[in-house]
């Protein structure tokens, strides 16, 4: 991965002017769709994501039912217009993988024992993509689940960290900075990306993927950054959930 662009300068300021441990701007709104049981619209830098939750409802086809607990089906989908050149619609290898890991992460926080034989469907629609959509999608899904009134152990939240700006010489990398929340250029031309999802109350890791190379120390540092980022976004999630009811309460008085 070589690039003629300088992703980070010697003062540790990134292309978009962020510091290494600074997040992009995140705004969340809960309950945006009326047909879904729960929903959420999220903007994370240039990412625009809608998540909708349906259920719990009877799992179909029947053989997917679990007589002891509910199953969580997340479906991650990128709109054709979400990227620069048109994305071919429909599930591909990448979106299937993200759907699977998201389902597994969400299943860990939903109290599935309450709804045996049922399915909880989560649709995550990426309207605009700009690096870190799986984190944005999972974060939106967490808010949508809470908005749907589904019993949760915790509201899941995701965030990524990575490494940018390393020099390559004969296949070995030197230098580089560990940074929080990679932007588009940083994701494309950076050295490593580490998206994680956690349950913020217990710091339990629900998802951890890594792309690229990190040394052990760099990994520890990146994990620490990403954890901190998750906690910051968790606060925004909770504010978004509270906001919809506080505004309503105000109207009624």
């Amino acid at each position: 991965m070589k690039s003629d662009k300088q992703l980070i300068d010697e003062n540790g300021v990134r292309q978009d002017g962020r510091k290494p441990d600074e997040l992009r701007k995140v705004t969340i709104e809960a309950g945006v769709l009326h047909r879904a049981d729960g929903s959420c619209y999220l903007e994370w830098g240039g990412n625009k994501v809608i998540a909708a939750v349906y259920g719990p409802r009877e799992a179909i086809p029947r053989h997917t039912q679990n007589p002891l607990r509910a199953i969580v089906n997340a479906r991650y989908n990128m709109a054709a217009f979400s990227v620069d050149d048109r994305k071919r619609p429909g599930p591909d290898r990448r979106s299937r993988e993200i759907s699977k890991v998201t389902s597994e992460a969400l299943e860990k926080v939903v109290l599935t024992d309450y709804y045996p034989r049922a399915a909880i469907d989560v649709n995550i629609e990426i309207l605009n993509a700009e690096a870190g959509t799986r984190c944005a999608g999972l974060t939106a899904a967490g808010v949508a689940l809470a908005d749907a009134g589904i019993p949760l152990r915790d509201i899941p939240v995701a965030c990524a960290a990575g490494k940018i700006g390393a020099e390559e010489q004969d296949g070995t990398f030197t230098g580089g900075y560990v940074v929080l929340d990679l932007g588009k250029e940083e994701d494309n031309f950076g050295n490593a990306d580490l998206p994680i999802a956690i349950a913020p109350r217990t710091n339990e890791i629900l998802l951890l993927q890594m792309d690229g190379h990190l040394s052990f120390q760099e990994f520890e540092q990146a994990l620490e950054y990403a954890m901190k980022g998750c906690h910051d976004i968790s606060k925004i999630q909770k504010e978004a959930l509270m906001k919809q009811y506080h505004s309503k309460e105000g109207e009624g008085q």
Partner: protein, 220 residues
Amino acid sequence: MSQSEREIVIPSQFLGDSNQFKSGRGTFIENGKIYAQIMGILQRNDKYLNVIPLKGKYDAIPGDMVIGVVIEALGSSWLVDINAPYPALLHVNEVPWNVDFNETDKYLNMGDSIIAKVSQVDTEKKLQISMKDRNLFKIKKGTIVEIDSSKIPRVIGKKGSMIQLLKKYTHSRIHVGKNGRIWIDADLSNTAKVIEAIKIIERESVSFGLTDKIESYLKQ
């Protein structure tokens, strides 16, 4: 419910220690601490901590009166949609008629609405309903409106105050199913009035003084 202040809690919010309180509805215990599991209004009793949901699917409890729509007539039973995650089973023995085998569709068919009672919920959440009781019947006229089941207590009001109000001002028959469906039997203009009132209740379910507000609306 305390009328002075309503505290809204979100899932995973810490509510109290389990040696001080008991974990009631909508909460769970982890390492001796009680947390909320759903979004809702916190209710503190002397002993229990409950969270009353603000939104969510209907959770069937035996004894609830529900309004269901038949989705299938089987050999000796019907499958009824009662807004729960699962369809409910209505057996021929549980209806007020004498039904012969394979003649179930002569009495209730797909799309028919009934007022029934939840008779059994097992550990697998298999639901059974019954029509053998007073005030349970097949609906032949009137209108059914659907709202979120968590808002039904507000439509009923304290000791039925809200529902009495609606009946008094519109001269209508109203049956409220715990599953979020409400059956209204009245003439056209009164039906519209009740539906509008119910919509106000649903929209402003978190606010105070709702009964007075509805009364002034109905007086117009």
